[in-house]
Amino acid sequence: MSVSVRIPTILRTYTGGAAEVSGEGGTLREVLQKLDADYPGIGARILDETGKIRRFVNVYVGEEDVRFVEGLDTPTPEGVQISVIPAVAGG
């Protein structure tokens, strides 16, 4: 599946400044693996050493916070937008 991934400002050093990049994969896990292959090192910024989404990162597939659905196993249908956003905001 071809998807698009929104990159937060603090990770754009990995994407050459691009705010949005294209990705590939049937689940969020696959999309992040491919993203790390394309932009080496970016995966370890989003996932911790145990492979889980970092505590202060929110990831959305479409409108949905993946913590409300299937986490890294959340399906990523063709054309969907994925957003990676620092969680430390608001209040």
Binding site: T9, F56, G91
Partner: protein, 420 residues
């Protein structure tokens, strides 16, 4: 106070020296950044405090700027146009204490701020950061109170504002967010969705030169809540209370009150003593309370459904720190349902003449619940926060707070109506 020239000599943040990641400790120069590049952890302000005395503070202005040497603001902040928030009343609540069976209870009534909530404190600090960074527009994601505070502060300071709220807020909060003349944008979604939108806007050219008080200025903004701790301690005669009940939305306020108390101890302004911090949530949005009760150290986000809309943050950024602090200090995090919130608003109004917004109903409701359960020590000195004004959430009590009778203007009619 003259500051030594530094690499960032154009910036004047008073005693603030750097930003530091709360998770991994990585340090950054003071700038409009809020998340750690290494781990996404929250950045917070680090200081090199000079000497500060009680006398010096007491001689300062009757607003938060009496503590300017403890805040990331320029030394001349009190001469600049801002809302001069703070120094709100600490009310000795003997009637409520008597009803609940507490020996000594105080209400820190922050509805007395210029836009009637504690948000004026945090916005005042963010405003100085926005000026430092040369931003022309002040912005935020808000559950209502913050939007009004940002609009008013921007108006006073002569900046533009553009604030974002969920579209289902209380009418009074929508009006207040709009009346100050900036742009108010209502988003068809929850607060967490508004917050996400703002986080994305910040990385876009549309948000260029915008200071989002609770996103890219959040490290500075959050420091404003320390002034609640400073004021409470000073108003108690330079003493930290034994126990304090604080509302939890994002959790920022609670964590900064703890930081404020610890700073006062470190600076020798108060005696070092143990204190317990209790967090209060509404049952319909209680991710932190649920995590506390389950023994978790991470917070599972929820979709809020409560009348306490100012606390309706389902994905609280500082939730994990609230858990840490409640556990470290021997406090707890508790929640009350909407019925208990309304009852608590009425209880506070009836006993102390303070009309709190729903968030205040949450704290007083939790105060009552924790007292009844024995989690709060009835002999210990206790402070409870009211962070907003009941006039902004009239709907919560309007159906129950009605005339006792509607009569013709005659003694006979009055006698008939109240004969019994």
């Amino acid at each position: 106070m003259a500051l030594a020239s530094t690499a960032n000599s154009a910036l004047d943040f008073g005693p603030a020296s750097a930003l530091s990641c709360r998770e991994c400790g990585t340090r950054y120069d003071l700038g409009p950044i809020f998340a750690c590049i290494e781990c996404f952890g929250p950045l917070e302000v680090a200081y090199d405090f000079g000497p500060v005395t009680r006398e010096e503070i007491a001689a300062g202005p009757t607003n938060i700027w009496r503590y300017s040497k403890l805040l990331p603001v320029p030394g001349n902040v009190e001469t600049r146009p801002n809302l001069q928030p703070g120094w709100t009343k600490l009310v000795k609540a003997d009637n409520l204490a008597g009803e609940l069976g507490l020996r000594s209870l105080y209400i820190k009534d922050d509805s007395g701020n210029p836009t009637h909530s504690f948000k004026d404190r945090v916005v005042a600090i963010a405003l100085e950061a926005a000026r430092n960074f040369g931003f022309h527009t002040l912005s935020c994601s808000s559950t209502g109170n913050l939007a009004g505070a940002v609009g008013a502060a921007a108006a006073r300071a002569g900046l533009d504002s553009c604030v974002f709220i969920p579209s289902n807020l209380e009418e009074a909060k929508i009006t207040m967010a709009s009346v100050y003349g900036g742009r108010l944008v209502a988003i068809d979604g929850t607060y967490d969705e508004v917050n996400r939108f703002c986080s994305e806007l910040i990385g876009d050219e549309l948000g260029e030169k915008w200071g989002f008080v609770n996103v890219n200025l959040r490290p500075y903004y959050a420091e404003g809540s320390k002034t609640l701790a400073y004021e409470i301690a000073e108003q108690l005669g330079w003493r930290i209370p034994d126990q304090i009940v604080i509302p939890v939305a994002s959790g920022s306020q609670l964590t900064k009150i703890d930081k404020g108390f610890r700073e006062l101890i470190k600076l020798g302004l108060v005696e070092d003593k143990p204190y317990k911090i209790f967090g209060a949530q509404a049952e319909g949005c209680s991710p932190v309370s649920s995590a506390y009760k389950a023994g978790h150290d991470v917070v599972q986000p929820v979709k809020p459904d409560t009348i306490a809309k100012s606390l309706a943050i389902g994905n609280p950024a500082d939730g994990p720190y609230v858990l840490d602090i409640a556990r470290r200090t021997g406090g707890a995090v508790e929640d009350v349902n909407d019925r208990e919130v309304v009852d608590a608003i009425r209880l506070l109004a009836r006993t102390e003449g303070i009309f709190a917004e729903t968030a205040g109903g949450v704290t007083v409701g939790v105060l009552r619940k924790l007292t009844e359960s024995g989690a709060l020590d009835p002999e210990a000195e206790t402070v409870v926060l009211n962070t907003g004004d009941g006039l902004k959430t009239l709907d919560a009590v309007a159906a129950e707070a009605r005339p006792a009778a509607v009569i013709r203007p005659s003694l006979a009619a009055f006698r008939t109506a109240f004969a019994n």
